[in-house]
Amino acid sequence: EPSRREMDEVEEKPKEIIKFTAKKLSVDEVSQLVISPLCGAVSLFVGTTRNNFEGKKVINLEYEAYLPMAENEVRKICSEIRQKWSVKHIAVFHRLGLVPVSEASIIIAVSSAHRAASLEAVNYAIDNLKAKVPIWKKEMYEESSSSWKRNKECFWATND
């Protein structure tokens, strides 16, 4: 049986948990992954699908990703975060495939001893994920048309 001191050291090792999944995302699950008994703060961002775009009723969204690269790009963002802020664990979950309106497409969670670090890290993570991680969203509208979206943060293409 490990001593308490040993358990603390196991807990202390910073983790990055990155997951792309077709399953419904759980805020509880993701926040549990980053909670540490040594940290007082967990900050989270949850991106949910909106029901409208330019007056058109969105009935569904579909996400696809360039998978090994998307994970690598998220890992790069995690490294950048660790260079900028003192944070403990980082979890980034992105849903793929069909996502019904009001369900989460992304959950980012960061734990830290001091809350400013995790709040700023979450902000940085979502900004950079939208700019650099190869994931695509297709909106499907009520009148059976659809459109591939682009993030305004996408670093090489600007909105017309």
């Binding site: 994920l129 695509w136 682009r150």
Partner: protein, 88 residues
């Protein structure tokens, strides 16, 4: 003659809709500028001309713009066509 090799081209989102395929193997010069490589691909799928201004490559999973950068390709390299992203 410039040495050639086979590379794997991956299409995503709108580029996959235009080409009708998600991946294909093409035979290209091992030393080629990024824009020249794009033209080789566009020759195979004329519809891609519509999105030329909006896409970027990922060569071996690193972003490369469609410009003058010289690519040194190895057999089996993965080249992805990346339309504007919209994750999050």
């Amino acid at each position: 003659m410039v040495p050639h090799c086979q590379v794997e081209v991956l299409y995503f989102a709108k580029s996959a809709e235009i080409t009708g395929v998600h991946s294909e193997t093409i035979f290209v010069p091992q030393e080629i500028k990024a824009l020249q490589l794009w033209k080789e691909i566009e020759n195979r799928h004329r519809g891609l001309a519509d999105i030329r201004d909006q896409v970027i490559f990922a060569v071996r999973q690193e972003y490369v713009e469609l410009g003058d950068q010289l690519l040194l390709l190895q057999p089996g390299d993965e080249i992805a066509i990346i339309p504007p992203i919209s994750g999050g």
